[in-house]
Amino acid sequence: MRRYILGFVCLLCFSIFSIAQEHGHEQPTAEPHGDSGCGEPEHGEFNPGETAFHHISDQNIYSIGPFHLPLPCFLYAPDKGWSVFSSGRFHADAHGNGHMAVDGYVLVEGMVRRIMDAGFPAAEVEVGHHPYLQKAKGADGKEKEIPFVCYNSQLYQTEAKSTADGGLFGGGITSFYDFSITKNVVSMMLILALFAWMFISIANAYKKRDGMAPKGVQSFIEPIFLFIQDEVAKPFLGHMWEKYLPFLMSLFFFILGLNLFGQIPFLGGSNVTGNLAITMVLAIITFLVVNFNGNKHYWEHILWMPGVPAWVKTILTPVEILGVFIKPLTLMLRLFANITAGHMVVVIFVGLIFLFGKSGENAGASYGTAVGSTLLTLFMMSIELLVAFIQAFVFTILTASYIGAATEEAHH
């Protein structure tokens, strides 16, 4: 056992050094890039917070260490139609900035952006190193620093894909939609494939080994399965537990699988459940399941609480109606915030190495901090392991309690 722990610590140290190497060339170099007539692209100071934002974001390439796996891009612009190609055609550099523009799209820090100028050549053209940051209006109409790319000594403004936050978090509807198979989508597909294979083989094992003790992965999953079944589904749903069991199990294992998948070292650390879009979908599906299965008793208690004076009802009803929406909203935010925070803390701990070591200038401080960061990261990752289970469990148990409340029979 001690051997395994030691091995794991070494693996983690190596992992962090390899990330350090990946970022080693982020330090400002004397090598000039500005050969396209627009001057020098940006080189800022190392900022752990911004690095963390970059690492937790969804990307159009899958980066594992120094390797970038190209992913398919499905981009839709209402004025132009569909553009479908591989993100390998952007020829991304180590930071995920593509050297090529394809169909008027460029890759900036791993994310596809569209060049807003309609006059930009539609074919594949070289845009060299970028971005150049300039103040401009963003999708939400606010002035901020926007990445530009340089082509033929001219700067072109880019814009991000459309997002569904309605300008609330700095996004909004832009000129294109990104339906690409991104890093998060790939992670979800992997989890779907892995879990489908695993659970179906477990189900077959139950059939094949009928009347025998569970074995292998079957006996590993069984206590978790039984825990969700006996501690979540049965207490909250009563005699209806079997109807909702597949939904609850899917929620639990989908979230757990993605939480854990994001924590595997060397696998890109995809932050799937720490992306609001994913938790939003899960929360909306939960909302639909709860409210479509709500019985008369449930709606009566929301819209016109029985046994309460009329004037209280006028206060209670709006609160109850708000509650219907707040419940899934909290589910969405809780999971998102917990997982995002965990991922950010790990990146920031690693970022400390560059901060204290001045991006490699001070090697002694780098190595010293690396040891400290490794231990802190190890501690953080063990907590994250716990969080992965707890958040999956919390999401599931709350969903079960909402369904239970909506389907409960009247008992006055």
Partner: protein, 170 residues
């Protein structure tokens, strides 16, 4: 270097919303239908199997206990029977011995009685014989005496005869 200090994960983009919906629904339908439901059913079946097995074991144990009690009772009965038979046999033996003893005693008594009777007979015969002989001897003596002294005296002779008669030999 990273410039876009954008917290992009908080902006739900349409592609991710779409793909997540598709993948989660697939997850729910495929794994829910082909794995979670069969597993839950298998677990339920196993639970009832285990319960049945436990109940069966309890029942069998009860049966065993009953059988054991029955056996013990039978054993006790057999033991009692044996004791009774032994006692009877002993009694029978004792009786037999007693009977034989009594018979022997009676036989012995009979033999002794016979012997006594025979002795009595012999004795009587001897006495009679003796009497006769004594009488004859006495007569001879008397004859000699009287011949010698009182030849032909009738009174004397009857007197002697009376004397002879009075002689009792026992």
């Amino acid at each position: 270097m990273i410039f876009l200090a954008e917290f992009s994960v908080i902006r739900p983009d349409f592609g991710l919303l779409f793909w997540t919906t598709v993948i989660f629904l697939l997850f729910w339908f495929i794994i829910g239908k082909f794995a979670f439901r069969p597993i839950a059913e298998a677990l339920k079946k196993r639970e009832s199997d285990i319960q049945n097995a436990l109940d069966e074991a309890k029942r069998v144990r009860q049966e065993m206990a009953n059988l054991k009690a029955e056996n013990e009772e039978l054993l006790a009965q057999a033991r009692e029977e044996r004791a009774k038979i032994l006692k009877e046999a002993k009694d029978a033996g004792n009786n037999l011995v007693e009977e034989a003893k009594n018979k022997a005693k009676v036989e012995a008594q009979k033999i002794v009685a016979n012997a006594k009777e025979q002795i009595e007979h012999q004795k009587m015969a001897a006495i009679v014989d003796l009497k006769n002989q004594v009488g004859a001897i006495s007569l001879e003596i008397a004859e000699k005496v009287i011949r010698k002294e009182l030849k032909g005296d009738a009174a004397q002779e009857s007197y002697v005869n009376g004397l002879v008669k009075d002689i009792k030999l026992n």
